[in-house]
Symmetry: C2
Amino acid sequence: MAQSDTVDRILDAAEELFAERGFSETSLRMITSKAKVNLAAVNYHFGSKNALIHAVFARFLTPFSATLEQAFDELEERCGDQPPTLNETLWALTESSIRMPQRNEKGIAIFMRLLGLAYTQSQGHLRKFLEQEYSEPFSRFMRLLKQATPQLSAVDRYWRIQFMLGATAFTMSSSDALRDILQNKTGVETSVQEIALRLVPFLAAGMQAENPMLMPPVDSKISVA
Amino acid sequence: MAQSDTVDRILDAAEELFAERGFSETSLRMITSKAKVNLAAVNYHFGSKNALIHAVFARFLTPFSATLEQAFDELEERCGDQPPTLNETLWALTESSIRMPQRNEKGIAIFMRLLGLAYTQSQGHLRKFLEQEYSEPFSRFMRLLKQATPQLSAVDRYWRIQFMLGATAFTMSSSDALRDILQNKTGVETSVQEIALRLVPFLAAGMQAENPMLMPPVDSKISVA
DNA sequence: GTCTGTTTGAAACATACGTTTGAGACACTC
DNA sequence: GAGTGTCTCAAACGTATGTTTCAAACAGAC
């Protein structure tokens, strides 16, 4: 065959296993046996396990960042001279991830879960790779957030962005498990789209919370320094 | 010595390394060499690596859940017949974690980071252990949250609790790094307590966000199923 | 002092990992 | 059809892991 499908089979299997079990917990032998290819094929085609991890991310992150740039372009054009609102900015991001062309029905879930893992698992090489490959859409998103929340001080905004990131990364990185728990308890099925639809209002409300430095209840034992 | 301090040295080293690097990424040899004890001591005193992980959690989770139960007792007594508000409930939890007797200055950060890892890293044995050992204070907190947000459906509440958990665990687990970044950028110093003071209003606002199923902006391409 | 149960020490065990090797199969060019 | 570059395969390599072993050191009781 002109271009072997071995590479794609490996990427498919790796993507799924990484999302299910994390990076360190997934061995090359699991990947190659799921992909039904020889063990050596990974090192032949990708060079190393770390390079395979990068390739898995690049495969969906490259088209995603293009989609995202486009969404931001449209958004800013639509808004004319005044900056997009917080809600619009958050939805632009959410839509871009939901509208991504997907290889299978689990596409978004895997996508989100991998992003969460990238943040959560302290894989130095991965963070370095993502920073130098995809820094532009990220800082553009940050700029939009800043314009959308001019009432916040830089420090408040900084921490609230961390809170948003945390809620998102954490939820998405364990979304499979959480969905299972919920279904076992209540029988309710939840799609990733629905999780996103619930997450965005939560984030927007938190981001715009009234008092940036609300005091604890009067009888609290905490003293504010 | 009557009761060897080997056990505590192992627990101290394990706690710190687990929080820094995760469970699978931390080997027993790292732990024993940091603790300056023999490799076999771990299996002698704890039986296995998994049992050591459980012991690390039990050491801070047992006193914490006691403190928490007490805080909830006081809160419910103070409120009499009407249920505590969301703010009061969140502050009771926050105070309990801040007031915890700490072994060192990194106590809270490590505590939070480990909790986040427990959720994130798919360690089946750990989740099982935590569920059957500490289900009571957890479900009590859930009950209080339910009483404090009667306007939410069970499903909405479930997901918003996950969002809160995520924002908290994520922020606290990387609070050291985040504080350093902020200080380098702006020169502002931030204590863990101050982070909590910013976090609680964010969470409360998100939890009480107006529309549980806010629609995307009118011109959005998302269609809600 | 001697015995007994507990704890430490160095070494080895079995297994799993990521990676490398070298021979073979295949498709394609000239 | 010989030659060439690409890819696959089974096997092995070196290393790191969790766990076990067994002798030595130690403590306290009698």
